[in-house]
Symmetry: C2
Subunit: 147 residues, 2 copies
């Protein structure tokens, strides 16, 4: 977890004013592990920050993405989902519950990276490669366990 002072600093470095609403959204994104939609972020924040406006949350999330402090993650569901974990990682996606869980594995990253240093693609600059593992959780209520 990250301290509030640190969060302020990060925002500042990115050229964004460290306002209350922005801090709240940013911290919430960092805290959350389920890659929430804008609306979910809003609902989660609401409890501790009643004054915040839904529209502001949408705007702030867009700003964070634009500033490179957050990413939008791909989903089949057809709504935008956000992620403040910027390190290279992959996603485990439950097609029933629509949960997205991070999957870290350096060996896998390297494997795929190696493949694409050999295999070239023309008219295209690769920025990131993500492995999406789609399937179904046996027990929908529990998290997926990496062995």
């Amino acid at each position: 977890m990250i301290a509030i002072g640190e969060a302020k600093h990060i925002l500042g470095t990115a050229g964004l004013k460290a306002t209350q609403p922005r801090l709240a959204v940013f911290m919430e994104l960092l805290r959350s592990e389920n890659h929430p939609t804008a609306d979910q972020v809003y609902e989660n924040i609401r409890q501790n920050h009643p004054g915040i406006a839904r529209g502001s949350v949408y705007r702030i999330l867009d700003h964070l993405v634009e500033a490179g402090l957050a990413h939008q993650v791909a989903s089949k569901q057809g709504n935008k989902r956000f992620d403040a974990n910027l390190g290279q990682h992959n996603h485990i996606y439950c097609q029933k519950t629509h949960d997205i869980q991070d999957y870290f594995n350096e060996e896998l990253n390297q494997l795929v990276l190696d493949f694409f240093t050999k295999k070239k693609i023309e008219n295209f600059t690769i920025q990131e490669i993500k492995v999406q593992i789609n399937g179904i959780k046996t027990n929908p209520l529990e998290k997926v366990k990496i062995v």
Copy 2:
């Protein structure tokens, strides 16, 4: 490309009546290579099938997905995009134009598959593994070329 009679048969096998609108949508999905949104499918069909209703296209696409005749593809953009190409393949995604192009490579499929037969994930049944190659097209107007 697929013949209309064959398309009818496929729909029938899936338990769907082969109606005019459904055939039109299904054929269009099969024809298209850019993983269109529901709205794009509607616009494309409109020219040859003026009578069709926008709402029907949305409904039909959902039915096709439910019946397993089409897939929804993951996108960062935040809207549903469809694909009738059911074979294992990966996606090249242009973060600027939002184009999605298919990437077929048996070696890559095998590579990733092998990895996950060794590496187990608990509380999760893997159904498909997709490698998403995100980046930017050098020339946005041209397609990406696989070498």
